[in-house]
Symmetry: C2
């Protein structure tokens, strides 16, 4: 029997390969695989469904991730997918598999984080599964949200001349991860030298918080609604700006031009990137896990979107044949490429 | 920090511990943790949601479980939970985490099984997640179903004098597992003796099929509907008849009397139990994974339910203070105890 290595397809290639010819047959199945959420349509309203799976050693490292933070982040990541469709998260199911090294107190901490996230976003924990694993911790969540039919925003609705916008700032979660990984390495060395290790993160708290305790941007969704702006396409940034921008352009059959100088960066992200000898733009483009919103709006909404707090216009949508490009600070043009995190590498 | 071993609480104790004080706040959250599915209520209809997580080495052994069968079973188990609420499964999300030893062809086989199950039950695969794990295979599924409001059957509706009914026959899936485990042990011994191993399952095909390829009982739900019978309580048998019967009685605040001689058994189950020196009633009571339906109906439905194909009346519901008892063939009375499979042992 043939044995094709999964890494040859990559995550998105694999999903496409396994699901490409799936036809939806139920009248309530409005939209299936290919966006932040599936959409179920009922006579009086639409329902959004999104699922995520997090595996120890792949998605999180318990050496520096407190279980409460892990639970909080796992829930937030799912809420973020619902907001990215312009919906409101309502219910969550959580399935957890744990090995023998985990205690009841560990699970209490994990659930405390999940429940805190649920409280903050008014989401009900309605079900799930609790079981054991041979090694490590596995968490799977499914979030169900509601949306008004005409308000749902897919990835495929961007049009030529639309403005490309992003909330918050980018690359900080990635720099936070680099810091944690560096301190882990230092700690491991020190422990082997039998010297007590005490990581020093002073001044970098923002980066750690972005990595360990991301916040889903309900506030941005609400601000857009209040401003009367209906994005034409939207998704949340989990794999990196480049990767997500390419998803929107591919699915919308458009190109785009993104201006490097307009990409929002926090001061600490820039300082720390320099410390690590990294290009800060590369971190912002490919870092991932920012859970900010990337969206497009009609050009006519320029003034309204420009007035929004914590939202920046970073470029615009072009014809498909013009491709996706990044305009560097010096005016040079580069092709936008997805080098985002690949969970199947 | 305290370290309480999870096994001291058990699966249901742990879930209760982690979720006991959860209050539902959204108007659409009708029923949360504690039944086969959560129930979401919308103006014109109700939605059922159920999640399951399956871990390699805990829930399945790939030595004797073909991946296509595994996918089929994983989906069926979730459909079964929706039928157990008297609903119709409509959508499924599937999250899969695989280690490097799995190929694209392996995942194709897994998805082929999932998709076959979906086709047979007219369920749409609408989403999920595909990622990697450090060791082994993890599968998490969430099934979404529809139900007419007045038709949903919970576990907590059984009343004194109700008849206790069960579909199909019990214990066969468990005996199938024993056979597979025995042949695996034989195979391992033979391989070490460098003798080719060829398992002989002739005449036992039914038991293997019950273990490897269970069928969710949509037919029973449809038969009940056609006969105009609305069960007062219902659940599917995944952990064993005893365990599920106790769930219904606890949640309904009733007792029950189950008659050993009425528990439906297949001939092969009985023969194989004898071969293994096991008590066949114990297998039927505690075996699990039969995915048959256990339900209660009002006494007035006696003739209608007795006329149903593949359904047997095995006892009746009593006052709570009478407890839950099994009446043996010789008339002796035993307390019904849950010795079902514990995934957290």
């Amino acid at each position: 029997m043939a044995h094709t290595d999964i890494s040859t397809l990559g995550e998105f290639g694999l999903i496409r390969h396994l699901t490409q010819d799936i036809a939806l047959t139920n009248s309530s199945s409005r939209y299936g695989i290919g966006d932040d959420c599936a959409v179920l349509r009922y006579p009086d309203h639409d329902i959004l469904v999104t699922s995520d799976m997090l595996m120890e050693g792949i998605h999180f490292d318990l050496v520096y991730t407190p279980l409460k933070h892990l639970g909080y982040k796992a829930a937030m990541v799912n809420f973020s997918d619902v907001y990215a469709m312009n919906g409101t998260p309502r219910q969550l199911t959580v399935s957890v598999a744990v090995s023998k090294r985990f205690s009841v107190e560990d699970l209490e901490a994990l659930y405390a984080g999940i429940r805190l996230a649920c409280e903050r976003h008014h989401v009900d924990l309605v079900g799930g599964d609790t079981t054991s694993s041979l090694t490590g911790l596995a968490i799977s969540l499914t979030c169900i949200g509601e949306a008004e039919r005409d308000h749902i925003v897919y990835r495929n609705g961007a049009h030529e001349t639309d403005l490309v916008c992003v909330s918050g700032d980018l690359g900080a979660a990635y720099m936070g991860l680099q810091l944690l990984e560096r301190e882990k390495a230092v700690f491991n060395r020190k422990v082997s030298d039998e010297v007590a290790a005490q990581p020093d993160f002073s001044g970098k708290e923002y980066l750690l918080e972005r990595q360990l305790k991301p916040e889903a941007r309900r506030d941005v969704i609400e601000a857009l609604r209040e401003a009367g702006i209906q994005p034409t396409a939207m998704m949340d940034i989990s794999d990196g700006l480049s990767s997500e921008m390419l998803h929107i352009c591919t699915q919308s059959h458009t190109g785009c031009r993104i201006y490097e100088e307009r990409i929002p960066l926090d001061y600490q992200t820039a300082v720390t990137a320099e410390e690590f000898n990294m290009n800060v733009t590369t971190c912002a483009l490919n870092g991932g896990e920012d859970y900010e919103l990337l969206f497009t709006v009609p050009l006519t909404d320029h003034d309204r979107v420009a007035a929004l707090k914590d939202v920046k216009i970073i470029g615009y949508i072009t014809k498909e044949e013009l491709g996706c490009s990044l305009i560097a600070r010096d005016g040079q043009e580069f092709e936008l490429k997805a080098q985002g995190w690949n969970p199947l590498k």
